[in-house]
Subunit: 100 residues, 2 copies
């Protein structure tokens, strides 16, 4: 597998009255994940990137970690370091943020 | 897992002299995958969506299928049906398009 973990963070922007990841700090999350991975020297094995709608709008901002296919919702910037350390490095999902 | 297969197709557009998936039919590929999956009634179990740069620009247009993490490159619109039938439904990657 090209990447040990591959994180897709929704940055979709839509013209709708519904909540939307892109307008709810999606892009800031992408930057925060990339900065954390870069600082730890992990960019070659773990990739975090923006993506389109993941169809979890109601739980946004949303992201998914593959290959496990674990979806996270309502992710705050302050949660990024915990997801990186616990899940991306330690292989333990951060259960309190997982979308059931 | 929310989706049996999750396909991320690069539609990134960049201002660079290098080849770039978004300008090389990335969006048309997203539409073609979605149309095929819809026609087959598979949208609830298989998702195809646009994504940002997958870092396989030289092989673009590129896409990745998870949970396997198989990357495809130089995908033509005429390849979509084969990827859907063989890989997304039949679990056999289309080897001639796989990025090694």
């Amino acid at each position: 597998m090209k990447y040990k973990k591959h994180v897709f963070i929704c940055t979709n922007q839509k013209d709708a009255p519904k909540k939307c990841c892109g307008s709810e700090r999606g892009s800031a999350l992408v930057d925060a994940f990339k900065a954390s991975l870069k600082e730890k020297g992990l960019l070659s094995e773990i990739r975090a990137q923006k993506t389109g709608c993941l169809d979890v709008c109601a739980f946004g901002p949303g992201l998914v970690v593959y290959p496990e296919g674990v979806f996270y919702g309502n992710v705050q910037l302050s949660d990024v370091e915990e997801i990186v350390e616990s899940h991306l490095i330690g292989d333990q999902a951060v259960e309190r943020l997982v979308i059931a």
